[in-house]
């Protein structure tokens, strides 16, 4: 139960959702899009989130799409992580998503909610960063398809009233060799100490990381170093580690130095696994 009241709306079309947001915003209701809703429910309970109007987008058919259409995989933002795992259309995503929260919670947590989350791990975005996916968004200016690298800078840079409809990924990326590993401080569920996801395209590896910085990222500089295949693995990693974005998280889950130690080992395991292929 949340300690404050709000109105609940469940639009069935994109236009209705966009119009509702604008209307409610103009009336000072601090509207919030609601997908799995777990963030409002858990953070609202402890006064870390607030709204007077919830717009539940799960009733919009475009947001529930899960299909391969021509040479693209389309995944709707309101699909639960469990649904995506059960269908297993993008094995790297299946593996990465299956480490988020726990199995039952993943029946409620959605793809779009995880990617747009305030809680900064946003692990489900990693496969899409690696696969150069496109994101389909809608807002007061209509629908737009944008490369994820233009819109996802630490988080999805949406303007007020815009929301994520779908992610489109070329099928050649969904079947590429991959590596995905989540290292936690302890136990087998919970937030990551470090999560590394990697795809191998041709002879090049691509790497995206959550839990190292207060945002998930893919770094071309890190990749360039890791792909210097004429150097020994340890030198490739040493060079890559000098090019990481900042700041490195330093908190109760793990000190910055410990995180870098764990990352070094994960990168080494990843290169060993993918160099062989």
């Amino acid at each position: 139960m949340l300690p404050f009241d709000f109105d609940y709306y469940k639009p069935t079309s994109l236009k209705e959702a966009v119009d509702l947001y604008q209307y409610l915003d103009q009336h000072g209701k601090q509207p919030m899009f609601f997908s799995g809703g777990t963030e409002l429910i858990t953070l609202g309970r402890i006064d870390l989130a607030y709204t007077e109007a919830v717009i539940d987008i799960k009733g919009i058919s475009e947001c529930n799409v899960m299909q391969i259409s021509a040479d693209h995989l389309l995944l709707g933002s309101t699909l639960s992580l469990t649904k995506i795992e059960e269908a297993n259309l993008f094995p790297l995503l299946t593996k990465t998503a299956s480490e988020v929260a726990d199995h039952t919670a993943r029946g409620k947590i959605t793809l779009g909610g995880n990617i747009c989350a305030q809680i900064f791990y946003r692990e489900a975005v990693l496969p899409f960063l690696l696969a150069d996916s496109q994101v389909l968004i809608v807002g007061p200016d209509g629908k737009k398809m944008v490369p994820i690298h233009e819109l996802f800078l630490e988080k999805l840079q949406l303007k007020k009233g815009e929301f994520l409809i779908q992610l489109a990924t070329e099928t050649r990326f969904i079947s590429a060799p991959f590596y995905s590993f989540k290292r936690r401080q302890q136990w087998e569920t919970g937030y990551p100490l470090i999560t590394v996801a990697a795809l191998k395209i041709g002879q090049e590896v691509r790497v995206a990381i959550s839990g190292l910085c207060p945002f998930p990222f893919r770094s071309k500089e890190l990749e360039a170093s890791l792909n210097k295949r004429d150097l020994p693995v340890s030198s490739r990693i040493d060079e890559g580690l000098s090019k990481l974005p900042k700041p490195i998280l330093d908190d109760v889950e793990g000190s910055a130095n410990y995180r870098l130690f764990v990352l070094r080992n994960l990168l080494s395991d990843m290169l060993t696994a993918l160099d062989r292929i």
Binding site: M1, L2, P3, F4, D5, F6, D7, Y8, Y9, G36, G37, T38, I41, T42, G44, R45, V54, D56, K58, T82, S98, A101, D102, H103, T104, A105, G107, K108, E188, T189
Partner: protein
């Protein structure tokens, strides 16, 4: 609309109930429908004590608004009668204080229906959603496996 009249199909019976938008399904089940089998634990999606079954899948009822469940099929521990998993919990001593038991049983019940041939990896993945403070994990796992193996 800060309050709504919703209809839930609970344990095979249609129940209409007036809820606030801000009420969780757990709160409505316990406080408004008198179904106190689903237990409040962390209220944060971590412990699984509140697990029920929504449209056949396990659901942490503290993570769902009651309005989201409008028109959906909900099964709570009160809706199970003499199911194999309940018997298996008794036979395998799979509870001590019993607080986590309804949640574990509802989770196990969904797994048995959805994946009757679940392998060890899947069993572990599903069971990790619930916490038993009395640490009866080995017995709970044996209870679940005894039902899955019989199938």
């Amino acid at each position: 609309m800060k309050s709504h009249t919703i209809t839930l199909s609970i344990n095979g019976e249609n129940r209409s109930v007036m809820v606030r938008s801000a009420d969780t399904l757990l709160y409505v089940l316990r406080g408004k429908l008198g179904l106190t089998g689903a237990k409040p634990g962390c209220l944060n999606g971590d412990c699984g004590a509140c697990t029920v079954n929504v449209e056949g899948w396990p659901m942490k009822s503290c993570l769902m608004l009651a309005v989201e469940a409008d028109g959906k099929k909900v099964i709570t521990i009160e809706g199970l009668e003499n199911t194999p998993i309940q018997k298996a919990f008794v036979e395998n001593f799979a509870f001590q204080c019993g607080y986590c038991t309804p949640g574990f049983i509802m989770n196990c019940h969904s797994l048995i229906l959805k994946h009757p041939d679940a392998d060890d990896h899947r069993i572990k993945e599903w069971l990790e959603s619930n916490i038993c403070r009395c640490t009866g994990y080995a017995e709970i796992e044996s209870a679940l496996k005894s039902v899955l193996r019989k199938k």
